[in-house]
Amino acid sequence: MESKSKKAGATRLCCLCILRRPVLKRPKTLQQICRECFYEVFEEEIHQVIVQNRLFKSGERVAIGASGGKDSTVLAYVLSELNRRHNYGLDLFLLSIDEGITGYRDDSLETVKRNEVQYGLPLQIVSYKDLYGWTMDDIVKMIGLKNNCTFCGVFRRQALDRGAALLKVDKLVTGHNADDIAETVLLNILRGDIARLSRCTSITTGEDGPIPRCKPFKYTYEKEIVMYAYFKKLDYFSTECIYSPNAYRGFVREFIKDLERLRPRAILDIIKSGEDFRIATTTKMPEQGTCERCGYISSQKWCKACVLLEGLNRGLPKMGIGRPRGVNGDHKKDTKKPGPAVKSIESKQCGSLDFQNFGN
C-alpha cells in the first residue's frame, strides 16, 4: 500500500486502481482516489458492515427512516443498490416523520416524496400532529429554544416505532453516521450518563423492544456521505433544523470537526473507545415495562413521551426535563383522568387509536 501510493503520488494516479486520475481525497484515509474507486470503497465498506454484523435476514421487511436529509437519502440509495447487487432479499420502505416545522420539514418532506419516486420505495408519513396533537412549532412557541430537541427526539423515536408498526416491518434502519455516534459517546461522558454510554455504540438496538433498529452507517464518515451524495448528484435537502442552534451537541460537533482535521481516524477511535469502555453490564440496565398511559415500552410508569405530553398539556413545560424530580411519582397525586373536555388523540390509549384512518 505504501509503495503504491508513493508511485501514484508521483504520477498522479488514483491510489486504488492506478488507472484513472484522482478527483478527491478520501476523508477517512486521506487517500487520493478517483470517483469510481470512491463509490466502490464506500459501498463495499457498508456492505461489509452489514455482513459482518449480520444486520439483516433474507425476506425481512425493512423501513428506512427518511428525513430527506443527506444521511437518509444516501442510505436509501445505497441500501437499495446493495440489496440488488448482493441479493439481500429485503423488502425496503421509506418511513418519514412530519414534526410540523414550517419552512423546514414541509420542504424536506417534498424531497422524500421525490425519493419515493426516484428509488421506487413505498413511502409512509407519520406526523406529530396526528400522533400527539402538537407540532414542533406549537411546542417551541410554548417552551422556547432550550429543551425543544429533547421533545423532538423523544417524540420521533416513538413516532418511528408507530410508523414501523403501520408498515408491518421487521426492522428499522436509520442514517446515524460515525460522526453522530462519536458525538453521542462524548456527550454521554460529558453528561454523566453511564447507562447510555454502554448502549450508544451498539450497531443494533432495541432487539427486545417493539422494533429493532440498526445503523449501517456506524463507521461511515459524515464527510464521505456528503461526498457520495455530491458526486452521485443525489436529491437531498440540506438545511439544518431551524430549531437546533442551541443544542448542547453543537459544542461537541465543533470539537469533533477540529479533531477530524488533525487526525481523521479519531472519529473511529472514539467509537472504538465507546465499544471498549469497561462498564459493568449487570447493574445498570433499566427494567423494561410498559407505559401505563399508552402501552409503549418504558422503564418508568409512564413513557417519556407521555410525561412530556402531559407537561405540555398542563402548561408545565419543564416536566420530564432534567434530573428526575419524582416526576412519575407526581402522577400519583393526579389520579383524575384528563377531563371529558379533552377529547384529543393524545389522551387515548394506544390500543384504541385507529391507525387505519391515519396518514395517506
Binding site: E2, M142, I143, G144, L145, K146, N147, V185, L186, N188, I189, L190, R191, G192, D193, I194, L197, F251, F255, D258, L259, L262, R263, R265, A266, L268, D269, I270, K272, S273, G274, E275, D276, F277, R278, I279, A280, G315, L316, P317, K318
Partner: protein, 455 residues
Amino acid sequence: MACNSTGCESGCYDREKDNGSKIVEDAVVTQESVCVKCKCNEPMTFGDGGSEDGRFCAECFRNNVFGKFRLAVTSHAMITPSDNVLVAFSGGSSSRVALQFVHELQIKALKNYEASRDRSLPVFGVGVAFVDETAAFPALSTEMIDAIEWIRSTVSSLSPPAKGLHVVPIESVFGSDSLDPRDRLVKLLDSVPDDTGKEDLLLHLKMLSLQKVASENGYNRLVVGSCTSRIASHVLTATVKGRGYSLSADIQHVDARWKVPIVLPLRDCVRQEITRLCLLDGLKTVELACRSQSGINDLVSSFVALLQEENPSRECTIVRTAAKLTPFYFNKIPETDDSNVPMATQRRLKRFNLKYDGSMTTEAFCPICNGPQNRSDSSELDYFEEGQESDALYAACCSSCRFQILPQDGSSREQFGSFLPDHMISQVKHQKVNSQAYLREKIKDCLLLDDEEVV
C-alpha cells in the same frame, strides 16, 4: 429556563410559585459577610472570576482542600508509616500542593512519633524527584537550570524533616551503560512521525525515569499530583485516541501496574482550588515552556476550558462518569512482604480490602504506554517470528501506540525499536512468552500431547 421569569406570559411553571420565592430568585444575592461553613470568619474573595468565590473563609477553604487530600490518602492506604514516598515534582501548582500536603502529613507524623512513648509507628520517608527534560528541549536549558535551582531551595525549605531531592535527567531511562543517551533520546523522538505521539512518548519516558529513580533509591510509593481537571482532560484524550479499554486504569487513586505504585492524592481537587490555595498560602510555582502541548492534547485542553466556561462543574462530571468504569485489579495497593508494616496498618488494609493479590496477572500490557490490553484485541498473537523484533514490537503494542508512536514502515520501526529503552523492549519479549502460556492455559484440558510432541 426557556422563558424569562419576569414578564412571562405563557402561563408556565414559574407563575405558580408564590411571589415570595419569586422575589428571592430574582433579587441579586446580597454579599454574605460570613463564611458559609463556620459562620464566623470573613469569607475570602479571590477575584479570579471562578465559581464559589467569596463563600468560604481562608481556614475553611484550606481545611476543605487538605481534607480531601487526607481522605484520599487514608481511604486508599496511600501512605502508611513504614513507606518511603517519592513526590514527583514538576514545579507546577498541583505538584507544589501535593508536596506541601505530604510535608504537612510528615510533620504531623513526626510530632506524633516524638510524643508517643513506645515509638511504635515510624515516620514515613519523603523524597522529591524532578525530571529534567533538557535533552528533549535543548532550547530550554538555561530556563531549566534556573528552575532546578529554585526547586532545590524550595525543597530544602521544607525541612525538618529533610527530604532528598533527585534531579533526574530524562535520558537516564536508557541506563548508565548507554553510549550517548541524549543523542539517543533525540533520535528516538525524531523517529516518531506524529506530534501527539511524540508528546505522549515523552510522557511515558518521564514515568519510566521516575520509576527508575524511585526503585533505585528505595522508595515504595510515587506521589503524582494529578488533579481532577487534569484527569478530565485525560479522559477525553484517551477516548479520542481509542484507548477506552485502558482508561479506567489511569484515573484511579492507586495505579499499581508499576514496580513502584503510583498514588494520586489530589485526584478529587479541581485546578481552581489548587491555584487558589497556592495564592492563599504563597506557594510559588514555576511554569516551564516545555509544559505546553500541541496537537490533540492541546485541542482537548482548549475544549475542556470551553466546557468549563459554560458550566464550571463539567470537569467533575467527566471524572465522575469515568469513575463509573470498572477499574483493574491493580488499582489497589499491592500485597507485599508485611514484615515491615505495622500491625495496625496491616489490619486496616485487610479489613477494607485495600490490597490486591499480585499473582493475578492476566492482562497483557503495551510495552510503550503500559496500558492493559483487551485480550480479544491482540489478534496478532501469531504474528511472532524469530528474530523479527520490530514485528514483535508492533504485535505487542496497543492500537493507539501502533498508530501514533510506532513508525509506519518496517525498517524505520526496527530502528525505532533499537532506540527504545531496554525496559520497554524486555516487556515485548516477556509478553511473547506470556501469550503462548496464556493460550495454552485456556486449552490445556483438551490437549492430548505434550508441548514438545506438537508440531
